[in-house]
């Protein structure tokens, strides 16, 4: 009897001390989900390596960001969340937040303030598009063209894509309505400020598709961001749409005869979310990582490895030279003043409403 009692007390004492021990601690291993390729590499060098060096945490990488919403939903249904921090674009982040699959973040207590003391909520400003979203970079979808295949007057305007007379040859576009429909309307003479109003109407949608019809036979439709750089490098297309960072690496790192059109670039945000429902130790670790990885210096550091603009205002002046190439990175950012003036901002709410409908229409149109 006594013996049992002793064991029981010891066990419960151990349990209690164990719990207390775990409370004050954070897990020493975390899984970070991102996009893979050069982008993950830039995060590895700017965030993961310094963070591991500082804390000794083992970071596991998972390149599943393109299917993050579907997977988080499935994990939530199975009640087994294996990811700690997930890199997603703004629109999926909003959806995850709305569905309660991502944790809400208070920027001023959970994110680092700028070096001059400006609170994070002000430093990020408009970039905080959702309560759960921790912005990281600004990227854009824009066009690159082959300098040797477009004749003597290189294109400077996004509408060159629709001008097959001046620029004959194939061009590549994404096989989704997002961005392609906006560009079509823009080049059909709709003012930037009215595009989404027009696109909300049947006539506007038909008008966009009719405009795309004029170049349908000249387009190679692609589904991933790596397709267009490859097609440009092979000379399969004379111009094509992809993410600006991919074009930067094609032009500056691989030295291909390609140049960029900043006009009509569609800006979007990418950043972190922390899945809802993590255990306290894992959540504490994720928050600690986020606090570290999104401070002013770290965001500026990432721009040393890839040409995406840091989402913090205070990071912009710190953007320096490329770590390996030694090029000044500031003019290559989508947020550089001269690039920004010609940009086009995506309307998340519009696409949340119309994506399914327009996608069905777009796919039906493509198959015609």
């Amino acid at each position: 009897m006594n013996f049992t009692k002793t064991i029981m007390t010891t066990a419960s004492a151990a349990l209690i001390s164990g719990a207390a021990f775990a409370d004050g601690h954070m897990s020493m291993e975390m899984t970070i989900v991102s996009w893979g390729g050069a982008y993950s590499n830039s995060q590895l060098r700017a965030y993961h390596e310094p963070y591991s060096a500082k804390t000794g945490v083992t970071i596991l990488n998972d390149d599943s960001s393109s299917t993050a919403v579907a997977q988080l939903r499935a994990m939530n249904e199975a009640n087994n969340i294996t990811w700690d921090v997930v890199d997603v674009e703004a629109a999926p982040a909003m959806q995850l937040c709305d569905e309660g699959l991502a944790m809400e973040i208070d920027p001023d207590t959970m994110l680092a303030a700028a070096p001059d003391g400006t609170p994070a909520s002000e430093d990020f400003g408009d970039m905080l598009v959702s309560e759960c979203f921790i912005p990281q970079i600004v990227y854009s979808t824009t066009f690159g063209y082959r300098t040797d295949l477009v004749g003597d007057t290189p294109p400077d305007n996004v509408c060159a894509v629709f001008d097959t007379k001046t620029y004959p040859g194939k061009r590549s576009l994404f096989s989704v309505p997002i961005n392609q429909m906006e560009w079509a309307l823009l080049c059909d003479g709709v003012a930037k400020s009215e595009i989404y109003d027009v696109l909300a109407t049947e006539e506007g949608q038909d008008r966009a598709l009719a405009k795309l019809d004029t170049i349908k036979d000249d387009v190679i439709w692609v589904s991933s961001g790596s397709d267009t750089p490859q097609l440009l490098a092979d000379g399969e297309v004379i111009m094509g749409a992809t993410y600006n960072g991919r074009l930067f690496s094609l032009i500056e790192e691989q030295k291909q005869p390609v140049a960029m059109i900043w006009d009509g670039q569609v800006m979007d945000l990418d950043g972190w979310i922390i899945p809802a429902g993590l255990s306290p130790e894992r959540q504490a670790r994720a928050l600690d990582y986020i606090m570290f990885a999104t401070d002013t210096q770290r965001l500026a550091d990432q721009a040393k490895y890839i040409s995406y603009g840091p989402a913090r205002a205070s990071s912009a002046p710190l953007v320096g030279k490329h770590a390996d190439l030694g090029i000044d990175m500031a003019p290559h950012m989508p947020t550089a003043p001269e690039n920004l003036s010609r940009a086009f901002l995506m309307n998340y709410d519009f696409w949340a409403d119309y994506r399914d409908d327009l996608d069905a229409k777009f796919q039906a149109w493509l198959a015609k």
Partner: protein, 424 residues
Amino acid sequence: MVNTPSDKILLSADGRPLKQSLSRSLRQQKIRALLLIAPLLIFIFVAFIMPIVSMLSRSVENDLVSKTLPQTVQALQSWDALSGELPSEPVYAAFALDIQNAAKAKVHTKVALRLNYEKSGIASLFKKTARKAKKWDIQNDGPFKDKLIKVHKGWGEIEVWKTLKTHSPRYTSGYFLNAIDMRKTAEGADFQPEDKTILIKLFQRTLIMSLIITFSCILLGYPVAWLLANLPMRQANLLMILVLLPFWTSLLVRTSAWKVMLQQQGVINDILVQLSLVSDEARLIMINNEIGTIVAMTHILLPFMILPMYSVMQTIPPSYLRAAKSLGATNWTAFWRVYFPQSVPGIGAGSILVFILAIGYYITPEIVGGTKGVFISNRIAYHILKSLNWGLAAALGTILLIAVLVLYWTYDKIIGIDNVKLGG
């Protein structure tokens, strides 16, 4: 055998009737056998059958609406969707209560997303309303009809309420209708507008292209399998390695290699231009369309055709052909009347294998198919991963599964599944 008189029962050594004792020992054997395969059975059930069943059941499940908006669904029952009039105040009041509860529990976007598949605009309508509704006092803030319409004019549209009512039952045929380019409306099943029909076309394309791929595999695979079965061992082994080597290479590598070969600035076009067979301006378009998918998939699936054919051909004694010839048959007659019929089970096995694999193929059409060469599976993947319309994806998957089963059944009826041999 001696006839046993009917009144005399044979007894076994322990005095039981022989029949009973035999059936008992047979039963024990069966149980032992079952126990031996039990781990596998349980594994298959848990890891294969259950997930499929649970996925398929999503194609008819629709409890999200009635679970999230219970009062509204109840109140809507007395509303006639075809009356041409908006629902009355109790429906609006019920909805105000429901959306407030849903917004507090953060479940309103799920149902908004669900209804947005049916009518664009509901997503933002729900979101905007939920934001406002959180602050309402349901007891005293009525009437809600004007209030809701003031929040968003969508609540004054009959179509919105029709959509809500049509998609409120716990089980729905809506996803299956969507899967065959139709839709569920308040008036009954209806065709999708023509500019949104795509799925039937994709089903047809998947079937036709899978058939073409299967036939090209037969045409290319048969001679190779014949060579494998009839060459001396040394050469046959070498040839076998050539067949298996691509089989062991990553699928992505093989598909991407075809990209390099077939594209307009690719290897084949370059050679043709150098030989002046085609002009530089008129380079052939062989990728990002049907041709790309057929070529790449035929290559990838070829081993699945060759291996069963080979193993069947190996069992055909060469002496039969010699006998046929010695009896006066020409080479062709000997092959066609004697050899070919015996190799049919191999063709059957290979064809089933290739066809069923082709019909569900996803990654190769995605990479080399462009827009004209993609399959229904690419659309299923889109709905699983991107639009998150899992109900529709499940309905499409169910149809695909049924199509395969029907084809399998027809094959069994016409040729007989016993005639299929994978070897031996």
